[in-house]
Subunit: 352 residues, 2 copies
Amino acid sequence: MGGDNAPESVLHGAATALIRHPGLTFLLVGHEGRLKPILNGLPALSGSARIVHTESVVAMEEKPSVALRQGKQSSMRLAIDEVKEGRAFGVVSAGNTGALMAMSKIVLRMLPGISRPAIVSTFPTLKGDCVMLDLGANVESDARDLFHFAIMGDAYARAVLGLSRPKIGILNIGSEEQKGHEELQQAAQLLRASGVDLDFRGFIEGNHIPEGEVDVVVTDGFTGNVALKMAEGMGRLGRFYMREAFMSGLFSRIGSLMAKPALKAVSEQLDGRRRNGAMFVGLNGIAVKSHGRADAYAFSNAISAAVELAAHNINDKIIREIGRYTGAPVIASAHAEAPIAMPEELAGKALH
Amino acid sequence: MGGDNAPESVLHGAATALIRHPGLTFLLVGHEGRLKPILNGLPALSGSARIVHTESVVAMEEKPSVALRQGKQSSMRLAIDEVKEGRAFGVVSAGNTGALMAMSKIVLRMLPGISRPAIVSTFPTLKGDCVMLDLGANVESDARDLFHFAIMGDAYARAVLGLSRPKIGILNIGSEEQKGHEELQQAAQLLRASGVDLDFRGFIEGNHIPEGEVDVVVTDGFTGNVALKMAEGMGRLGRFYMREAFMSGLFSRIGSLMAKPALKAVSEQLDGRRRNGAMFVGLNGIAVKSHGRADAYAFSNAISAAVELAAHNINDKIIREIGRYTGAPVIASAHAEAPIAMPEELAGKALH
């Protein structure tokens, strides 16, 4: 029920994801009276989905603390509960980010050794994809949080990008050692002094992200969120420039017709919808946040992200890495074998 | 003498700027033995420039505090002194940003009523240019600083973009009132409660910058610096995608030849060199920082930025606005009638 285009975009997104991942099943948590008519128009999805009815919804502008107290029967909360109970692999939502984070943290709890969750996603660069975190789970992060983000980002990059030794950088406003916030200096010292087996490359600057200088960009949630959304807006600006330029003269128009597939490829690469879906890492379960503005195509990509993370057992990888660096015992996450699930929305009971 | 390509790029940049602004004259502050041979190859510039010799240079990685103490004879310091003494309109440098800021602050001093300087520049959007500050003069900014940035950004947008009533937004990670750092909330309250005559539109998010939601983006120097450099890197990524796509097949290649002017236009719009040059606002004199990586073309644009700011009497406008909001007496800036000057580098003794 969350996001600007729900529940239509969510159900159509689920139908699209089902074509991509034929074995997937969904728990659609939300108002049956609104979901049923849409579902009836999607016969393939109907056969792979079950509606979990609730009338309560977390509003987009609701304070997370209020949602936590008053939203116990909300579609968002019930969907997270499905993951907690092991009836779903993961939860996907386009709803209120703060509420989804707060509820997921309370219900699913943190992975052992991690103090704060982070929002992580992949990002395009000149040299392939990189991973960036935190993208907005926290407004402030201390050195210890940033240190954990580095470890979780490393695990995420290994799992999702398939890298054997990801290069890690801390986002700063200069590569010199004396620059930036105190906590960034301390985090860099922690990474160097703790003897962790990470390929830590020191500080990077904003331009180094799209330039592909590192595979994992570590930052506080405020800066990461601004950088991510800035890039999203820049993608839109680039596409606008292209449209303008190719409509500007006869030769350009003819040229643009001939080069249509190329133009389309560039446009798609600049299209934020293609990589919709950010994971909350550090939690004992898979929770993926879709962009609130997501249409069906974008939402289907958020579902694919959840499927990929479940298939890669991302949390087991993080637990193993954290255990290696902190000396904590290596235990499996509670839901390593549980199915993917999604709120308001979608929940696949099985992956294949 | 500052920047990756100095002094060649600086002198060639000055020669290019001279074609654009024929009346301009320069003080080239730096090592005569290195500047003279380059200048000899640029006869037009030779006639409009005078070398101010010094052997001392501020290194790119020097701490600002060290540069302040030990760099009194450096090209950077002597160039700023030229502005202070009224022999130059402004100073342009591609050197050490922190040192340039610290020296400019000590030598030129702050405008009355302003506690901290900010780095400001224009930025492309879907709806024309906007102004963003601070881009890295400060690592942290309190509510009062952000309030001043809003007033200075408003004056800058009026002067440089010619807007009669610029829309102002504070960069945050959500448009909701409860989000973001405490100082952002306080700054928003200050702007609303102080009765200043600004068109304050509340909080904006990263994507709203290139989308042109506001004309003036107010942010702390850390976030602003990351956002600016992220956009710079995204521009490079967009140009890379275009090159890749148009080389991908015969039709695309032919199409790209036909649409070459359009492609070039897009490429130029995504080219960070086009809008090189950020001003230090809040100081009693014009100081423009060029990107350290600037080539001659980029450096010439930093010079043009300085010329434009001098021509618009930007500081007088800021003093008037600040005076209006704080009740401070309206006095003219010391160097309103002084010529433009540049360190290591270039200094035009007259604008026309």
